[in-house]
């Protein structure tokens, strides 16, 4: 209403100005050029107000004034219709040009102000977002501040991997825009409800939130890694202390029993029998302690595995020498080709995986049986086969033996074990994108594991520590 009134006042004032110029010029009786110039100037001045209609009306009024006021004494129109037309065109063109330029300038000024305000808001948003330390805190601050700063009805942030969406304000009705807020290809989505900010601002908001989420994720990841490392250090300190505390008394028992046993001057058979029992049980206790410690170490390491190129021949060597230590010398036939590529994994875990498989092959085979360990490269995978000449494993058990605590039906009562070995082997293999499975072959059960070979490392097994064991 007020604006309308103001417009009417402006139109009236403009008309009055034009009439005044015409009247003054007429009175002074000046030549034609002066009123023409003055009228054009007046139209231009009115046009700079930025109102196209007003400018048009003024230009017509000015050209009419020029035509009607300046008639000569005879009463005839002193100017031709062509001249009238030219005057009109000049006036209108001046009015349009003036008002157009004025409008553009005004628009630019408004734009500049709007941009400044947007920058201030974005700046404020980034300030708020950067103080957040955790992902939920960052996401919550983001939606709350977005609604507040950009006068939205509501905002929702769906963060990949988060249990719930983060939202603020009112989500009912109104226009909605949905965009990806991410810098690294994650599926974090941002929804803005209500009056929408400009496309540029929306993009800026999306990438800013993407950056903040990314930063919060990195911070959380780093904290998690640090905690894992600290946990791992603590665990290994505790394990080493435990190992020391258990093994020290066992060392005295084992040494004493083995001295007495090998001394050979015990006269009575029952004395020899008793000493043998102490010696053998000390061995068993040691084996149990070792297995439990290894198990605990595997669990710890699995949470934080290394990723390094590992040589399968070296892993095989280590397992064989470990087995020899616990189970006495056994017959292993080893056929690992030279130049087998490295695999990417954690040397300790891979060693434990093979140890579980070989231990299993040993336990479930007849005394004196041979165990063959062979390696091959097949379709970019290094495949290791551990084969014993043990008996047939029923079809329905071939997959189940890899389950935790599952033990073959025939052996459940006869063979000492926890039923964890193959399950551990499978988890480790899978951790490095590998597989473990069982094939029944005419010569006996063949346990196989496959691990991706190190890319571009074909035929470069050239560490001096490698050689082939044949016992």
């Amino acid at each position: 209403m007020k604006r309308k009134l103001r417009r009417i006042v402006r139109i009236a004032a403009s008309m009055a100005l034009i009439c005044l110029i015409a009247a003054v010029c007429e009175k002074l009786g000046s030549n034609r050029a002066t009123p023409a110039m003055l009228l054009v100037l007046a139209v231009l001045a009115i046009a700079t107000l930025g109102d196209r209609v007003l400018a048009l009306v003024s230009s017509i009024a000015a050209s009419l004034a020029f035509s009607f006021y300046f008639v000569d004494q005879t009463g005839a129109r002193a100017i031709s219709s062509v001249q009238t037309a030219i005057t009109l065109a000049t006036m209108v063109l001046t009015a349009f040009t003036g008002s157009h330029l004025a409008l553009r300038a005004q628009q630019r000024a408004r734009e500049a102000i709007r941009r400044r305000e947007e920058m201030e808001r974005l700046n404020e948003l980034s300030r708020v977002l950067l103080v957040a330390h955790t992902l939920p805190e960052a996401a919550e601050n983001a939606v709350r501040k977005l609604v507040e700063l950009f006068n939205l009805d509501g905002a929702v942030l769906r963060v990949e991997g988060a249990l719930q969406d983060f939202q603020a304000g009112n989500l009912a009705g109104g226009p909605v825009s949905v965009m990806r807020a991410t810098v690294d290809g994650r599926a974090d989505m941002l929804e803005l409800h209500g009056p929408q900010p400009s496309g540029e601002v929306r993009n800026a908001i999306a990438s800013m939130i993407g950056l903040v989420l990314d930063r919060a994720r990195n911070v959380e990841e780093r904290a998690r890694m640090e905690a894992a490392t600290r946990g791992e250090e603590l665990r290994s300190t505790v394990l080493n202390a435990l190992a020391h505390n258990f093994k020290t008394p066992l060392t005295s028992i084992k040494a004493a029993a083995s001295v007495l046993r090998s001394a050979g001057d015990l006269r009575r058979a029952d004395e020899r029998e008793l000493i043998a029992a102490i010696d053998e049980e000390a061995d068993r206790l040691e084996r149990l302690i070792q297995e439990s410690l290894d198990l605990a170490r595997i669990e710890g390491r699995r949470a934080n595995p290394q990723s390094e190129p590992c040589s399968i021949p070296i892993v095989v060597d280590k397992v064989i020498s470990k087995m020899s230590r616990y189970l006495g010398r056994r017959e292993f036939i080893i056929d690992i080709p030279e130049g087998l590529p490295f695999v990417i994994g954690d040397a300790f875990l891979l060693e434990q995986m093979l140890l579980q498989i070989v231990d299993n092959a040993w336990k479930y085979s007849q005394p004196g049986a041979r165990i063959r360990i062979s390696g091959a490269l097949c379709d970019g995978d290094v495949i290791v086969t551990v084969q014993n000449d043990g008996s047939e494993i029923p079809e329905n058990e071939r997959e189940r033996i890899f389950e935790k605590f599952y033990r073959g039906s025939k052996y459940r009562t006869r063979i000492e074990g926890t039923g964890l070995g193959l399950a551990i082997a499978r988890t480790i293999a899978e951790a490095f994108r590998g597989r473990v499975w069982l094939d029944m072959e005419p010569e006996g059960p063949a346990f196989r594991f496959a691990l991706p070979a190190e890319a571009g490392a074909e035929g470069t097994v050239d560490r001096e520590a490698h050689y082939i064991v044949n016992r």
Binding site: T248, T251, S252, K254, V259, A263, Y467
Partner: protein, 236 residues
């Protein structure tokens, strides 16, 4: 073989010292035992010992540091006896100057075999070993146990000396890891490739002229090592 030999036992666990002292004495050895590295260093100044059994986890200076300190002043064979069992622990101990590593718990027979191997090493010689070797940059007198490398006298531990002597007895031929381990440490050995890597490294540091590529002890990839001795050099 261990009769009348003096063995120094360094372990903070009284029960282990008790069992080992009793058992080794029963085998005819003369056993001295202390419970820390500091005491061992003090004792070594007054007594000559033929072999040291050293624990790693000890209060005070600890096993590794004790090993280094002993190695600095004495050439006596050191067998580390520890509950630590990782390769890293073994390599650290060997790097510190130990000659062998036995994991606790052990059977007494196993320990005796290691002790015998360590004592045997100090008297090792073969018929094919030359008495003296002289080649540019390296002079060795096997009888005097003297090595001069790059014009400077260097001190080798008994194990290092034996490895060098064995490699030279097989000069210019590749010696497989297993063969070398068994020749130096004894027939029970063969898998302890990490031992060789540590000792060959130390030997190279002591006798090789500075430079990237070893001139005397060459690595034969996946096989073992080879001592390079120019054939035209007179071998007395």
């Amino acid at each position: 073989m261990i009769e009348k030999r003096t063995i120094l036992l360094i372990d903070d666990e009284p029960q282990i010292r008790r069992v080992l002292r009793t058992s080794l004495t029963a085998q005819g050895a003369n056993v001295l035992d202390v419970q820390s590295g500091e005491e061992a260093l003090e004792l070594l100044r007054e007594h000559t010992v033929d072999l040291i059994l050293l624990d790693l986890n000890m209060p005070g200076m600890g096993g590794l540091e004790a090993c280094r300190a002993i190695r600095n002043g004495w050439d006596v064979p050191i067998i580390v006896v520890s509950v630590q069992e990782s390769d890293r622990d073994k390599v650290e101990a060997l790097d510190a100057g130990a000659d062998d590593f036995v994991t606790k718990p052990f059977s007494f027979d196993e320990l005796m075999a290691r002790i015998r191997a360590a004592l045997r090493r100090t008297g090792f010689a073969t018929d094919t070993t030359p008495k003296k070797v002289s080649t540019p940059g390296l002079e060795i007198d096997f009888e005097e146990r003297r090595v001069i490398a790059g014009g400077k006298m260097v001190r080798l531990t008994p194990t290092e000396f034996d490895i060098l002597r064995y490699l030279i007895s097989q000069a210019n031929k590749p010696v497989p890891h297993r063969k070398l381990l068994q020749a130096i440490w004894g027939p029970e050995y063969g898998d302890q490739i990490e031992y060789l890597r540590v000792f060959i490294n130390q030997l190279r540091k002591k006798i090789e002229p500075p430079g990237a590529k070893p001139t005397f002890i060459a690595t034969e990839p996946r096989i073992g090592y080879r001592f390079v001795l120019p054939v035209e050099q007179p071998v007395a």
